[in-house]
Symmetry: C2
Subunit: 216 residues, 2 copies
């Protein structure tokens, strides 16, 4: 399979396919038609068939797709079997929510360290993982070949933290801060979550909806 | 100004313009060139001029843009002056993070109520706002003309909560659950934050980066 031929928009839909297939599997569903997948994906059956054909197609005409097989193939394309080793920096509310509730092992990562600069929480645990002193972050990452970091820290702390992560080999960042990592490290792989930008977008849509209602 | 002519992609960039202009204003910068804005926006000066021309253009050749004026105009386009009344449902880690740290008044919303179903936290406060019993949610929203709800609850609780919010007039949702609100309420305005989808996308990019490195 040549992944270079897969468009960005197909890739962006894969996590959603994966999520729905996981739900189907949990409900004991063994096979699913492209029509049913389309319904769940809010798409069309032909779009679904086209998406899955990008990967060589996993279905049989009139017989549907095997849920478990399809889920497994999508997992491989996404690299969810890679179990990248990750640390989380910043055990405040967002960091704790992420460390406590996300099923990393299903999402391609293995959380192996949590760090904070608040010494009153050093040693306390989230999901069996001890919160460590952030001053040990750099050596921990170098010693343990850490691949990724989840940044749940204030923006002004981010440049120094990212600098030490980068210098110990970390190249992958899930960034909840407003620090622009790729400006300083162009070869970093980054996903940003800018909650305030999303809320402003919601405000715009809400405002539009209100204005349309007033006009009609 | 006719907002209908503004493309979706320009709109999507506006929160970022707004955020950077806020930072410039906080740093005491009074005027900014399209070149400087382009640098901050990781864009080109001509793209920036084109974006801002959509709104009638706020700059003067060779003189740049007034930071405060431009920020104000973008705020108006986004509707940030509307102060939509919002409630937050689910005061766990994510909900608490959002209630405690987001500057809603700059983002178009006013948080006026926090609800949870855990009676051991009823009455405790986040940013001066008392956590209330979720059984009072529907009457509170109807009595207070609530516009929006931020949903930080488990997926299986979402259908019932959204149902009672909708029936008391709420049409705008910031949805951290995996419940598909628009499937049941097509006229709702929704922004979803699917953290696990974002993490899988990061995994894919990381995996791609690793494979490229191995090939080179």
């Amino acid at each position: 399979m040549n992944k270079d031929n897969i468009s960005k928009s197909v890739i962006r839909r894969l996590p959603r396919y994966y999520r729905f297939l996981t739900e189907l599997e949990e409900n004991g569903t063994e096979r699913v038609s492209s029509g049913k997948l389309a319904e769940i994906m809010r798409s069309t059956a032909s779009q679904v068939r086209q998406d899955l054909n990008c990967f060589g197609g996993f279905g049989h005409q009139g017989y549907g797709y095997s849920v478990t097989y399809l889920k497994g193939e999508i997992a491989k394309i996404l690299g969810l079997d890679k179990n990248f080793k990750a640390v989380l920096v910043g055990a405040g509310h967002i960091g704790t929510a992420i460390a406590a509730h996300m099923k990393f092992e299903n999402l391609g990562f293995r959380l192996v360290g949590i760090f904070d600069n608040n010494q009153s929480i050093f040693g306390s645990k989230i999901n069996e993982l001890e919160i460590r002193d952030v001053s040990e972050l750099q050596s921990f990452c170098a010693d343990n070949n850490i691949d990724a970091a989840f940044l749940c820290i204030p923006k002004d702390e981010a440049p120094e933290i990212v600098g030490s992560l980068y210098s110990s080999g970390v190249r992958c960042f899930w960034n909840f801060t407003h620090y622009y990592i790729q400006g300083d490290y162009p070869d970093a792989t980054v996903e940003n979550v800018h909650l305030s930008d999303i809320l402003m977008t919601l405000c715009y849509s809400m405002n539009e909806a209100v204005e349309k209602n007033e006009q009609s």
